[in-house]
Amino acid sequence: MKEGFALNTDWGLIIGITFTGLTVVFLALLVLILCMKVMGIIMSCVQNKKHLKEEGRKPMSKELPLQKQGQDFDVPPEIVAVIAAAIAAEHPNEYPVAIHPVTASNDATTSAWKQAGILQNTQAFMKGVAL
């Protein structure tokens, strides 16, 4: 135990330890960032190569055009059936319901389906205790 209030404290040592500690923590984690970045680049290169190889093997087909982001596309009939069933269940015997063309929303941030998916994937983290 120190005898005097801050007088006998070796401030050079304390500041040195603090500075060294923070530097080492940042340095270690910066090296890890670098490693992760390099690993990410290598992995994406490998996957791009794989993708290109697979594309090269496929016969050219006009029947399956690639879906561009934000472009309208047909909603599968199963989805339409689910929506229709949900509406029918909500309003039984009230009035007949007809479903007009259904289009997928481009607004990905507020999509209820997306939110439900995220909720399902993150539920595990919302439980448990800190360690």
């Binding site: 404290t9 960032i33 994937n121 800190a130």
Partner: protein, 395 residues
């Protein structure tokens, strides 16, 4: 008849009840009350019950007069006579060897590694910076504690690690730097970890604007299995080479994670996540609680540890959020500063707090996976900080 009364008299004199009425008896009674409060908090309030309950009961056992379940004197000094511990020690003395020899915390880390998904961190490596920034609480508290005359430099280092918000790391550092304060430090660390949802939100709200809290972050990229397998190997090699004293903690954390991600040792993963983790948690909790004897716990130092622990937590949270703000500016508003507070570790509680506070501003905002990155980076960061504190000469 005389023999009967003599025997009853002897029993009464030697009983713990009589010792409660001696000069220091009141100290044991105070410890009973403290243990009772902790048991209440664990059961009724569910404050970290997995560890707080065995810690509190260990505290109760060690303070039972006459029971002599734990002998702190066996573990004092540099040269411990392990033969004496095995020969004369009781159950708690022998179980305490796992703490003293630094076996339990790395084994707990093995279980944590087997339970943790480092995917969000691999997908967003910049999260490492938030995990590093939140360790500022440790080093700031180290300066404050070192300034106080009550604590030696090594005690200051042991107290400061509370800011890492990581129970096993705090115990691992305290058992080496200040074994006499182990009980107080463990109780403070786990209490504050349980209070993360209470401590963090006001600091997070104070340091951020409404606009910053409402930031919706871009979806994280998917992480391949190969990346998840390579991650623990890379982290182990880099950290262990840089800070060798952090190797036991990081090595076991990453072994647990490698077992999980490899997908070929499911039985080992299940054991590490459940049976092993639970057994070690019981041993660790009860023996750490046992170190909190009245003579050690009922001192001004314990009050200081409680206050300094709170300071460490608050500074760690603030540093994480402020670094998050810096990243918000640098990335032109793409990073929500709230995820910075998760850098203090306390997995997954701190990440849940980021999610909750973020959703208060924008109910459709899901910050949880983004906050898990800094959260698990905080575990690595606090282990590195622990390694630094253990490797520098603190006297």
């Amino acid at each position: 008849m005389n023999i009967f009364f003599q025997a009853i008299h002897d029993l009464l004199v030697e009983s713990g009840f009589m010792q409660l009425f001696t000069a220091d008896g009141y100290k044991a009674l105070i410890m009973f009350v403290i243990a009772g409060v902790l048991i209440y908090l664990a059961i009724a309030k569910k404050f970290e019950p997995l560890l707080l309950l065995p810690i509190a009961f260990g505290m109760l056992l060690t303070n039972l007069p006459g029971a002599d379940l734990f002998h702190p004197e066996f573990f004092q000094g540099v040269d411990i006579d392990y033969g004496q511990v095995l020969h004369d020690g009781g159950l708690l003395d022998i179980l305490y060897l796992g703490v003293k020899l630094g076996i339990y915390p790395p084994l707990i880390f093995l279980g944590i590694g087997a339970m943790t998904d480092f995917g969000p961190l691999i997908a967003s490596p910049k999260s490492f910076l938030l995990g590093a920034a939140a360790q500022a609480g440790i080093f700031f508290t180290f300066i404050v504690a070192a300034f106080l005359p009550a604590y030696s430099l090594s005690e200051a280092g042991a107290i400061a690690i509370i800011g890492g918000a990581d129970g096993p790391t705090a115990i691992y550092v305290a058992k080496t730097l200040a074994p006499q304060l182990l009980g107080s430090i463990a109780v403070a660390a786990y209490s504050y970890m349980a209070l993360v949802p209470v401590i963090q939100p006001p600091i997070m709200k104070l340091l951020t604007t409404k606009k910053e809290r409402a930031v919706v972050m871009e979806q994280l990229r998917p992480v391949s299995r190969i990346e998840k397998i390579l991650f623990p190997i890379i982290v182990t090699v880099v950290v262990a080479l840089l800070v060798p004293s952090a190797a036991p903690l990081i090595g076991m954390l990453m072994l647990g994670n490698l077992m999980r991600e490899s997908g070929v040792v499911d039985r080992l993963v299940k054991t590490a996540q459940n049976e092993l983790m639970n057994i070690i948690t019981i041993f660790l909790g009860i023996t750490v609680g046992a170190t909190a004897t009245a003579d050690v716990f009922l001192t001004g130092k314990t009050i200081g540890i409680v206050v300094l622990g709170l300071i460490a937590f608050c500074i760690g949270t603030a540093a994480g959020v402020l670094f998050g703000k810096l990243m918000y500016v640098v990335t032109k508003g793409k990073v929500n500063p709230l995820i910075g507070s998760a850098g203090v570790s306390a997995v997954p509680m701190a990440a849940r707090v980021s999610q909750k506070v973020g959703q208060e501003e924008n109910p459709s905002n899901f910050l949880l996976m983004h906050a898990m990155g800094p959260n698990v980076a905080g575990v690595i960061g606090s282990a590195v900080a622990a390694g630094v504190l253990l490797s520098v000469p603190l006297g």
